[in-house]
Subunit: 254 residues, 2 copies
DNA sequence: TTTAATAGTGTAAAAATTACACTAAGATTT
DNA sequence: AAATCTTAGTGTAATTTTTACACTATTAAA
């Protein structure tokens, strides 16, 4: 859920057996991407690069911090953004979660016991890619299309895939697509969003017929600018109208 | 997911900051119920009863135990049952999760520090009420209709309500209703199940028309026995047929 | 002015949903 | 053995939703 908690400077104690990891999804009007962070390990003596791979972002939680707060903080620390959609989707706690040699070496080098189980609470967050300034605080982060994600550190591949499954399920039932778009968007952008996340092709006319029934998707008196073709009408999602008109979806399948 | 892990006798160390709690749902062909456990606290000196309320079942996890295993163990310890449907739905970790006086006293009396945050991973499980022998191991447990649940210990009311929301959402999209029924069931029983869990009334003819399209719901050459009215045909859910025929539900709403 | 690119629109057939009321079969009661 | 009670089981017509499908409109760029 959206956090409207001001980020405060924390002075407390980090809990060293409990963390949050955050799968940050971003839509760029074309693909669904995930924000990954470089992890480079260098031999302390020789200075030689031992490995260089990618991780999700995450951190241990402070003793006085709620789980949702910790996720919002982790997201803020990486992107500088607040009040971003965040959803807890699954907790990972296999005793052997971290077993690969690289990961154990990394933990050891960072003062942690690689044999100690760390339970991590998985969150995903949704935003439009252009909200993120990739140079924030100098960490090396990059957007990667979800179809091209491989070989993440720790069990982050697993966490990432579960996040994607959870996102797809949620998108089928709840109006969260808008979290991945700017305030004003075109119907083609919205259609593309559903297509790339659900992995389907949708018919343009049928898509428009369907959304035309949703009165909380309101057409604005405004058009796209700066495109080299017929500019499309802009829409926005009216959450209040949605909450008023939502008929609880109760047609079950199966 | 179903656990097919044999319950072994654990000798390890309990992790004292991490627990699982299990919301055990049971359907009795009439209502959705939840299995609750009596919690009685007695003054050690006077022998006077200090309070007497209800809790979900839960326990801390062993250091060598996966989260799903811990949930299955907790369920087994209360009911003696294995291979029961279990679903992780949310993790609860507010620093002030446990703040009521009764709960703090209870923790203190049981050798725990009431000020230490315990993070608990919530699971729900689904079964037909008559699978449970309420006298198992002499713990005082009872089925309570979900509409009548109040005043649970700790933050169990919160956990229970979130479990119910998660169950409802899942029931709309996935074939989990059958986990609450015996192997063979009637269509009226199935209809009642959807009605009481989703809180709606369904038209009998339309319900039957709808399920008739689901080929994995197979009519048996067998009828209900021992009822004082026209006995209904029995059906069963063929999971293999379901997996084969499932067209990924991709009609999004919203 | 031409070209390239995407926006935007309608219709007919099929499928799904909705609202609605009576007969059938068995156990129980009289 | 007849009557009664209780739940099982069934069809149809109207409405809504879904599906498949192709052309014109508008803007910027060449």
């Amino acid at each position: 859920m959206n956090s409207s908690i001001e980020q405060k400077t924390r002075v407390g104690v980090l809990n060293d057996y409990l963390s949050v990891d955050c799968v940050i999804f971003g839509f760029d009007f074309n693909q669904l991407n995930v924000l990954l962070v470089d992890r480079v390990m260098v031999d302390e003596l020789t200075g030689k690069e031992l490995f260089n791979d990618l991780t999700l972002t995450g951190n241990h939680i402070y003793e006085d911090e709620d789980l949702d707060e910790a996720a919002a903080r982790v997201l803020f620390d990486l992107t500088g953004l607040q009040d971003i959609y965040l959803e807890q989707f699954k907790t990972f706690g296999a005793p052997d979660r971290i077993k690969r040699e690289n990961d154990r070496a990394w933990l050891a080098a960072n003062g942690r016991d690689p044999d100690k189980r760390i339970v991590t609470v998985g969150y995903y967050s949704l935003l439009a890619t252009d909200k993120v300034t990739l140079e924030w605080k100098g960490r090396n982060v990059r957007w990667t299309p979800v179809a091209g994600v491989r070989d993440l550190a720790f069990d982050h591949m697993d966490i990432f895939q579960e996040a994607l499954v959870a996102l797809r399920k949620k998108l089928l039932r709840e109006p969260i697509g808008f979290e991945l778009l700017p305030e004003k968007f075109t119907l083609s952008q919205l259609q593309r969003l559903y297509e790339v996340i659900l992995g389907v092709e949708l018919d343009k006319r049928n898509f428009r017929k369907k959304v035309a029934r949703m009165k909380y998707l309101v057409p604005l008196d405004e058009k796209q600018k700066g495109v080299a073709h017929k500019p499309a009408r802009l829409y926005n999602f009216d959450r209040d109208l949605y909450e008023l008109n939502r008929k609880e979806l109760l047609d079950f399948a199966i």
